[in-house]
């Protein structure tokens, strides 16, 4: 069951309706919806304009030129910390749940595309089909954990899990519906109710990019990279830079540091971050 290509199975069951071409067109359509939705969002919210203006302002306060190696190291660190390991989450549960959801989604979508484009009529594709099921499962585990326990409505506001904020939750709910119905469809076989719901959820997920949180997979890394570049050129969004408290230069410029903290101050620990914010 977990080694069968569900799309080839579908094709075998009704070769006249679910032709490989139809499935491929559906995938291409969904990709176009994501690209179109994201671009429309950028245009509609004027975010490109806003960030271009920000970049222009930042240049005025830049202290140094950003070299090619600075740019590539910013890119590498964005890929390794923000993209691959979701390091921007300070809540570790949230981070783990995001990683499971993200990798599950990538695995699920990539194997779907490979199975439909490369093996549309090969029913036994053990590795790909297994990864497809594992991806959906990981998406479900991470996503439901988030939905029932971690999201702020439930964790902080004490709202029951079934209270939905339609626009805010449309992304996570359609994502979960897609993965859940994909698994149920694969387990039950055929193209009954679960298949219809799977296609409905998938179509909803990819066609609502303009209104949902879907596009965060593009703008979050872009914002993280932009922030690193601003730190590299010294403009740093108007924020003070990093100081090495044990350097002689800093001791001379800010004599209070060696006077009160010593020549080589120790790590003072997490301070107010010893306790998570929980009084709201």
């Amino acid at each position: 069951m977990f080694t069968t290509n569900p799309f080839a199975q579908l094709n075998a069951e009704s070769p006249d309706i679910f032709t490989p071409g139809l499935m491929q067109i559906y995938i291409i359509l969904m990709v176009l919806f994501v690209i179109g939705g994201t671009l429309f969002d950028v245009w509609h919210k004027k975010s490109a304009k806003y960030f271009a203006k920000q970049a222009e302002d930042a240049k005025k306060h830049a202290k140094r030129e950003v070299s090619g190696s600075d740019k590539s190291s910013a890119l590498v660190s964005t890929v390794t910390s923000e993209i691959l390991t979701s390091s921007e989450f300070s809540n570790q549960k949230r981070r783990l749940s995001h990683l499971m959801t993200m990798y599950g989604f990538i695995m699920f979508v990539a194997t779907t595309a490979i199975m439909i484009f490369a093996y549309p009529q090969t029913i036994e594709t053990p590795v790909l089909a297994l990864l497809w099921h594992l991806g959906a499962l990981s998406l479900c585990v991470g996503g439901y954990w988030f939905w029932f326990a971690i999201r702020v409505d439930v964790a902080a506001e004490g709202k029951p899990w079934y209270v939905i904020a339609p626009r805010a939750d449309m992304f996570i709910l359609s994502l979960l519906a897609m993965a859940t119905f994909a698994l149920l469809w694969s387990l039950s076989g055929g193209y009954g109710l679960f298949f219809v719901l799977f296609i409905a959820a998938t179509t909803f997920l990819f066609t609502t990019v303009i209104w949902s949180k879907f596009a965060h997979m593009f703008f979050k890394p872009a914002a993280a990279y932009d922030k690193k570049l601003k730190a590299a050129d010294g403009s740093n969004e108007g924020l003070p830079g990093e100081f090495d408290l044990s350097s002689a230069e800093i001791h001379e410029k800010f004599p209070d540091i060696p006077t009160y903290m010593g020549e080589n101050p120790p790590n003072m620990g997490p301070g107010i971050r010893r306790e998570a914010a929980k009084h709201y």
Binding site: K63, V152, D256, P265, G269, G271, I272
Partner: protein, 160 residues
């Protein structure tokens, strides 16, 4: 002028809500971002600005310490135990960084265990100094300082 939140930077973590002494930083129920519910009640203490891990909160500084329109931003580094400020004038003529210690020993180690300390003597109770006041801000080294010991004379009227 009161605090305001950059919606693109806020992630709704609630640190500002926890720390606000005026209880006016709230999380919006719909968009899950922090905002100042009552700007007229904000006394610009900068607690939330310093506590925000994403530097999403800003305050426009009054003209008593920097010209209007300048950017005043702060980064409180807990682990290093310092606070850094950066002030950039609107016309760009000044880009100024300041750095000051906020603790001299790791957080939490200086909290006295009052069960194990001896009760304060009458002299300590009657003193104007605070319990456990750090040595370097004490004024009583070699006796209390007053106008006489500092050879100063009180003059009439307001002067600076």
């Amino acid at each position: 002028m009161p605090t305001y939140v950059h919606m693109t930077r806020c992630d709704g973590c609630g640190e500002c809500v926890d720390i606000c002494p005026s209880d006016i930083m709230h999380i919006d129920k719909t968009i899950r971002r922090a905002y100042n519910i009552e700007p007229s009640m904000c006394w610009e203490c900068y607690s939330c600005v310093k506590a925000c891990p994403h530097h999403a909160i800003d305050v426009r500084g009054y003209a008593d310490f920097t010209p209007l329109g300048s950017s005043v931003r702060v980064h409180r580094d807990e682990e290093k135990g310092v606070i850094a400020w950066r002030i950039i004038f609107r016309n760009g003529t000044k880009d100024w960084e300041l750095l000051a210690p906020i603790t001299t020993k790791p957080w939490g180690v200086g909290i006295p265990d009052l069960n194990t300390v001896a009760a304060p003597s009458d002299e300590m109770r009657n003193s104007h100094l605070l319990y456990n006041e750090p040595k370097y801000i004490r004024m009583d080294e070699g006796g209390l300082h007053d106008l006489k010991t500092n050879k100063l004379v009180m003059r009439e009227g307001v002067y600076y």
